[in-house]
Every structure is written in C-alpha cells, then in structure tokens.
C-alpha cells in the first residue's frame, strides 16, 4: 500500500504563533489513520491546511502524487479530499435532501449555461443524483427526514447527514474532524460502524482527528500523535498507547 497523502515539513504561522511547526507524516491508502494530540497541538490547523482553506506558510502536501498545498479549498474537494467539520456544517436553511444533492459531482445543471443550454442532460443527472441521494439517506437512516430543514436535525443526525454528503462526493480521502464530538454514546457505535463499512466497501481512506481515544484505538490502523505543532510519533494504537512521550504530552495539558 502506498501513501495517498504526504505531509512534508508543513509550517503554518499566525503572526508569532507557530500553530503547525514542521509536521511530517504519511497516510496509507485505504487506512483509517488517527490524528491525536492534546489541545493546541495544531491538529485542526493542519486539517484546514490540507483541505485548502488555509495555505501553509511553508512545506509540501502531496495527494495521490499531486501537490495540493497551494490549491484552493474547492479544488482540493474536487480532487477527492473531503473535509468534515467538528460541528457538522449542514446547510440549515435547506432540506436534508438538498444538502445531499449539493454534493453531486459534475452536475451540468449547476452551471448557469449548462442549466439553460442543456436542460435534458441536467434533468437526467438530477434524476440519477436524486436516486443516489435517497439511497445514501436510507443508508444512514435519515430517509424519513429527507424533506425536513437540515436545521431541525439533532447533532448526531447532522453527523449522519454529513456522512451521506461525503459519500455522495465519492472522495478518495476523507478528513474527519472529531466525528464523535457532540454525539450521544448510543449513536457513536453506529457512526463507527458506518465509517468502517465505508472503508471496507468503498476503499475510502480516513484521516481522523478525535479526542475519544476509545474510538481511535478501535478504529485506527495507525495513529499519528502531534504535540506543539509537530509530529511526536507514529505507530499502531497499541504502540502509541504505551509510548512514554505520548503519555507525558497528554498529562501535561488539561484533557
């Protein structure tokens, strides 16, 4: 298995603060890789940098052989790297179904000229997209809420909607930002199963930032540990759990 994502010496500063201070690691294709570390370790900033909403101050990020560190966020998403947010950013004023439909790729109807000049192609794509959207909503158990405003969903339900949207995008790499945050314990098991099933069935790679160490231990093949903007160590969950440096790093901060 080859690395699908390579982060090389990435630095990101905000004024005098070095939020990410030379991070280097690789993510293997088809893996579930955990990214953990105490608060302030730079994980979210690194995520944002990979996803393209921030540009690194220096360093390289290579995805599937292509450099993406200077690429804007929407192009990174189109290239196959999709990011979720800690608080699922669903479009609250639109329906659940619309939220998933928005994730449809290459829709001719989404271009102004396409909508006007190719109505047939647009209608066909829309029909196919709707079918697939309903399928995915059924997969995550939100089918009954398809017409409801996404704003009426609970936190956990929004995460499921997020997952459906992610699947609609057919990504190669998914950056999951604290998927378990704000999710009721009962729902966590379901969410974990979805993630593992998706990896198994569709071969999608996951890079997951998560504070719920149980989740990380259960789900991750490899774990990258960050502290103070740098990578402390990389290893299997078992290796990382017993690593003294990691324990020190965590004990040193409120958790």
């Amino acid at each position: 298995m080859s690395p699908i994502l390579e982060v090389e010496d990435v630095v990101r500063t905000f004024g005098a603060v070095r939020a990410v201070d030379g991070a280097t690691f690789a993510v293997e294709e088809h893996s579930v890789t955990g990214l953990i570390g105490p608060n302030g370790a730079g994980k979210s900033t690194l995520f944002a940098t990979i996803a393209g909403s921030l540009k690194p101050t220096s360093g390289r990020i290579v995805f599937a052989g292509r450099r993406i560190d200077r690429t804007s966020a929407y192009r990174v998403a189109r290239a196959g790297v999709v990011r979720t947010y800690q608080a699922a950013r669903v479009l609250t004023r639109m329906s659940v179904l619309d939220n998933v439909l928005l994730a449809s790729k290459g829709h001719p109807g989404e271009r102004l000229l396409g909508a006007v000049l190719r109505p047939g192609a647009s209608r066909d794509h829309e029909r196919a997209a709707r079918a697939r959207a309903h399928e995915l909503l059924a997969l995550v158990g939100l089918e009954a809420h398809a017409q409801a405003y996404a704003g009426t969903l609970s936190g956990g339900q929004r995460k499921l909607l997020d997952l459906a949207r992610v699947l609609m995008l057919e990504p190669s790499l998914v950056l999951l930002d604290e998927p378990m945050a704000g999710v009721a314990p009962a729902l966590r098991v379901e969410l974990l199963e979805h993630i593992l099933a998706v990896r198994r069935d569709r071969g999608i790679t996951f890079l997951v930032v998560e504070h719920d160490l149980d989740f990380v231990m259960q789900a991750a093949d490899r774990v990258v540990v960050m502290n103070e903007g740098r990578v402390l160590t990389v290893g299997t969950p078992a290796e990382v759990r017993t690593n003294e440096q990691v324990v020190d790093a965590y004990l040193g901060t409120a958790h």
């Binding site: 998403a77 990011r83 669903v90 479009l91 790729k105």
Partner: protein, 321 residues
C-alpha cells in the same frame, strides 16, 4: 383630493412600482439568494440608461439595438466590480459597492462631452441642441396604445413594464429552482461548506452580481423611457436604499415577495403625498418631501427592528442574520 381619483396618477405609481420591482429583483438575486451586500445597485441602473441614451443620440443606433447593449453594459459593470472585490470581507465589499455607484455618478456628472454632464441627457447632442433619445420608444408606445385601445400613455407603459416585470420574475424564479440556484443558496448560507463540497464560490457570486446588475440595467432602461430625460443626480444612493427597503418589506429570499414589496412601497411613497391633514399641513408642501423620506426611513428602522423577515418572509429562512 381630486388627484386621488386621477387614474393617471395611480398608473404612474404603478409604473414606478414596476421599475422598482425589476431593480429590487436584481438585488434579491444578489443578496436574497447569493448573500452579497450590494449597496451600489443604482450604479448599474445608470450604466444601462446612459449606455442606451448615448448610443441612440451620439451613435445614431436603433433603440432596439441600444437597449440590449445597455443591459449588457450593466452586466459587464457587475463583472468588473466583482472581479477584484468579491473576495473582500462583507463589510468592505458593501462600502466598495457604494463607492462604485458614486464613482459612476461622478463620472456621469463630470464627463460632459460623454454624458451631457449635470444638464443630463438633453445635452447629449451637439451644443445648442436639445437632444432626445426617446423618439423610437415613444412611437412604439403610441403604436401599442392604439393597438390595445388604451386611452392613456401611462396605462400602456404600465402594461409594458409589468409584462416585462412578470417575465423577468418568472425567469428568475425558474433559474433559482435549478441545481444552479441550489448552489447559489448554499453559497449564501455557508460559503465555506459550499467550497468544501467542491463548489467554486467565487464564480457563483460573480454570476449573481452580474445577473442582478443586468436586471438593474433593465430597470434603468424603463426609467429612461418613462421619464424621457435623466441626469446623473437621478441615480443617487437613495434609490438603492429604496430597493433595500422593498426587499425588507416584501421579504428576503423570495422572488414573488419583490413585487409585493414594490407595490406596498409605491403606495407608501405616493400615499405620503396625501398628507393633507394636520400636523402635516403645518409645513410647506415642498418640505413635505423631507417628511416623506423621514417616514420611509422610520419604516426601514421599524422593519429592521420588529419584522426583519418582511411581510412574506419565512422567519426560519430569514437571511438577515
């Protein structure tokens, strides 16, 4: 009170409401559906009107060629404004758009050889002549009036403006129900989320700005045809604020709320002419113009505080916050 019974007056109010409907529809596309804080809408109106008038008077073009070009000029204006500015923060963008419309007014005021300057379109032709751009349109309007059997020019114009208005409203309504419209609304609601779904946010905003500008250009054309004369000061920021007020009145984010807001606005504006009772009779009639605008300003304030979703808006879908 005899003016109250005058159909001609109310037809005129209806025409103005129709022009404002088209102007505000453009703003609804830009803000109600794309979330763009455009406070320079009147500038695009000026671009449409002036382009048409200049082409007709100075270049001798046919009105029917000059008019679409006026709309195109307004759309291009939108593109030129948006390209450097749409990546700015919302508040900076708002200020820059006001500057844009004021700069247009400035140029129109000072480039006398191009626009006739402060004297307006009468001075478009060679010095000494009083030029008129409206000849072809007036002929068309009269022809239509006779065909339809109407007794007044005002009624004819009313029909024309509102026919075009309804067509445009329908076109916009249809466009917003396409997948393109869906992305636009997503950009309005959360542009970062839209970007993370692979949407080119900048391109959509630019399209919305240009479309809204084109609609303002159409409004400018009708303004020019209705009044058959205009000068730079006709396109002052006050008109943009009226358009905003219409959006607030009718409701943000709803196409068919725009004509409702425009008609209500028309009634308020016209209705304040009839303040022939105390305490308004205490002030001279020309000063009542100030009072009308004060009333309008107060209405904006009250709406913003008490009913930001407007008459028809859906509180849950309220775009204001």
């Amino acid at each position: 009170m005899s003016i109250l019974a005058s159909g001609g007056f109310w037809a005129f109010v209806g025409v103005v409401a129709g022009i404002y409907t088209i102007l505000s529809l453009g703003l609804q596309v830009q803000f109600g559906f794309a979330g763009l804080l455009n406070f320079g809408q009147v500038g695009f109106m000026a671009l449409g009107a002036y382009t048409m008038a200049i082409l007709v008077v100075k270049e001798g073009w046919s009105m029917w060629l000059a008019a679409p070009l006026g709309v195109a000029a307004a759309a291009v204006g939108g593109l030129l404004l948006g390209l450097p500015t749409l990546r700015l923060r919302a508040d900076y963008f708002a200020i820059v758009t006001i500057a844009f419309s004021e700069i247009i007014r400035y140029v129109a005021t000072n480039e006398t050889s191009l626009t006739g300057g402060t004297q307006g379109t009468i001075a478009l032709g060679p010095t000494g002549t009083a030029s008129q751009y409206n000849g072809q349109w007036a002929a068309f309007q009269t022809h239509l009036q006779h065909s339809l059997g109407f007794s007044s020019a005002d009624a004819t114009m009313l029909v024309i403006v509102w026919t075009v208005g309804v067509v445009l409203l329908t076109l916009v309504w249809v466009a917003l129900r396409t997948p393109w419209g869906r992305v636009l609304r997503a950009v309005r609601d959360d542009e970062d989320a839209a970007a993370s779904l692979g949407k080119n946010v900048f391109a959509y905003k630019l399209q919305a700005l240009a479309l809204g500008a084109a609609l303002a250009g159409v409004a400018g054309l009708f303004y020019a045809w209705e009044f058959s004369f205009f000068s730079p000061d006709d396109f002052e920021p006050l008109l943009t604020f009226f358009a905003w007020m219409i959006l607030l009145l009718g409701g943000l984010g709803r196409v068919w709320a725009v004509p409702v807001g425009a008609v209500v606005f028309g009634f308020i504006f016209a209705g304040t002419r009839f303040l022939n009772f105390a305490p308004f009779t205490w002030v001279a009639s020309d000063e009542r113009a100030y009072i009308r605008l004060i009333i309008i300003g107060l209405i904006i304030l009250v709406l913003v505080v008490l009913r930001p979703q407007g008459l028809l808006g859906n509180r849950r879908e309220m775009v204001l916050e």
